[in-house]
């Protein structure tokens, strides 16, 4: 019998294991159009997006723990991001989640960006970048459909 293995039809998405990404905004920042767009783009890239707006840093960490995400994306456009990231980095360490990748987006000045990267934030996607840039970075880390 002539049988060939075909793993999946070209149109069919691979359902079974997906990169899980938490997208959140800090509580003091209501500018959520950007992060909504990113959520849709991430979904279309095949990621499972846990979408949870307006959280305290401790709530972001709790959510990341419960949802067992590989990536946390924090969108911030109202300033005040440095203490938020500081709390998040401490919270990840406290829970033994140093393998979770932290990325930032929104409006973050270049000087702050340099400091954040120094702290271990993987990337910052500011004005002029696209959702695809973030998707490429996540795929480079975790694989997934090209």
């Amino acid at each position: 019998m002539n049988t060939e293995v075909q793993t999946t039809t070209p149109e069919a998405p691979k359902l079974g294991e997906a990169v899980r990404v938490l997208l959140a905004k800090p509580t003091h920042d209501c500018h959520d159009r950007g992060v909504r767009l990113v959520a849709r783009k991430f979904r279309d890239a095949g990621f499972e997006v846990i979408f949870s707006n307006f959280l305290l840093p401790s709530e972001i960490i709790n959510t990341a723990v419960e949802e067992d995400v590989q990536v946390i994306g924090v969108s911030t456009s109202a300033g005040g991001h440095m203490p938020v990231f500081e709390d998040l980095i401490a919270g990840l360490k406290e829970n033994g989640l140093e393998d979770v990748i932290l990325i930032g987006g929104g409006v973050i000045p270049a000087d702050d960006e340099a400091v954040l990267k120094d702290w271990g934030v993987k990337a910052v996607f500011g004005p002029g970048t696209t959702a695809e840039d973030a998707i490429d970075l996540i795929r480079a880390e975790f694989g997934g459909p090209a």
């Binding site: 019998m1 002539n2 049988t3 060939e4 293995v5 075909q6 793993t7 999946t8 998405p13 691979k14 359902l15 079974g16 294991e17 997906a18 959520a39 849709r40 991430f42 979904r43 279309d44 890239a45 095949g46 990621f47 499972e48 997006v49 846990i50 979408f51 949870s52 707006n53 307006f54 959280l55 305290l56 401790s58 709530e59 709790n62 959510t63 723990v65 419960e66 949802e67 067992d68 590989q70 829970n95 033994g96 989640l97 393998d99 979770v100 990748i101 880390e141 975790f142 459909p145």
Partner: protein, 325 residues
């Protein structure tokens, strides 16, 4: 994947004692059928069947997530540990998903007595995901006193929740008159409790009346299905709802819960086996399967017989199909 597989020792030492990171990783293991899923299942064996399992289902926009939030608040008031499993659909195009149920539950974001996990349906029909039943078992073993399972927004036939939950709450919203007609035959039948949510809206009375009519003389095992009113955003009516669910739960003998676990496993095996056979048949290539298709198209063989033969081909040569997991 970043999260590496853990061994049985890790889960034995951390999962049953309620470590939240261990619980989250155990859920991922069973959800993805990862190598350490067996270690998780070993760890929880004999530890399940204690939690109260409440299912919440209903049409998109009926207020399921908000109602879950209010029910969690009520259960926390009784000092019970609460697990929530919230399922949202996966995109049939990309396989991705936006899991947004917890937006409505953020008031519990800092409460260690609440553990919320979002699951994508990952192509599974029926209102849940393939792994949902096992995720519930893991939460049960980790010490949750009550577990609430929220389905995807459902239409008429997503009735799988009744296999998992001891008490199924079907949520309806006012003003969807036609929708009530539509659900009469399907999802209303699995309800142990019917809820008219958004009961402060003008058409709530009419909706309640329609549901009472539909439910008249509907009894299951001596249980008369109540029609209750809630306003999930304010919490109105949720105390009564939780009390009613407890009353329904109390009628269930302990032995039935163990039996239910075995029955669930039987169905899970059937579903998984069906998926494996389906994937196997889909993966068949070559003359034999071409001949079967041709025979049906020419009217020389009936559909059911061709399917039986295709299944036999696939099972005889399991390497020809892909692993659906």
């Amino acid at each position: 994947m970043a999260a590496q597989a853990r061994n049985a020792d890790y889960y034995r030492d951390n999962l049953l004692s309620g470590n939240r990171v261990a619980l989250a990783r155990a859920i991922t293991a069973v959800e993805n059928d990862r190598a350490d899923a067996a270690a998780v299942l070993q760890t929880i064996y004999g530890q399940v069947g204690r939690a109260q399992l409440i299912g919440i289902t209903g049409a998109p926009g009926a207020g399921k997530s908000t109602l879950v939030n209010a029910v969690v608040r009520e259960l926390r008031g009784q000092d019970r540990k609460v697990g929530v499993v919230a399922v949202d659909p996966s995109s049939p195009f990309s396989g991705g998903a936006i899991l947004g149920d917890r937006i409505r539950m953020s008031e519990h974001g800092n409460d260690d007595g609440v553990f919320v996990r979002s699951l994508a349906s990952r192509g599974h029909l029926g209102g849940l995901s393939r792994a949902a039943a096992r995720v519930v078992d893991v939460m049960d073993a980790a010490g949750m006193d009550a577990i609430i399972v929220e389905t995807v927004g459902t239409g008429q036939s997503e009735v799988e929740i009744m296999e998992i939950a001891q008490t199924v709450v079907v949520v309806c919203a006012p003003g969807l008159g036609d929708e009530i007609q539509a659900v009469k035959a399907g999802i209303l039948e699995i309800a142990d409790i019917l809820v008219v949510n958004k009961a402060d809206m003008p058409l709530a009375d009419r909706t309640e009346r329609q549901l009472r009519d539909a439910m008249r003389a509907r009894r299951r095992d001596g249980w008369e299905v109540p029609v209750m009113r809630t306003v999930a955003t304010t919490g109105d009516g949720t105390a009564d709802l939780v009390a009613k669910a407890a009353e329904h739960f109390a009628r269930l003998p302990a032995a039935a819960r163990v039996h239910a676990a075995r029955g669930r496993m039987h169905k899970l095996l059937a579903a998984t086996a069906a998926e494996q056979v389906r994937a196997g048949v889909q993966g068949l290539r070559g003359e034999a399967v071409d001949a079967l298709c041709e025979a049906v198209l020419r009217g020389e063989m009936d559909y059911a017989e061709a399917a039986r033969r295709a299944a036999r081909l696939a099972v005889a040569d399991p390497g020809s199909g892909h692993d659906p997991g």
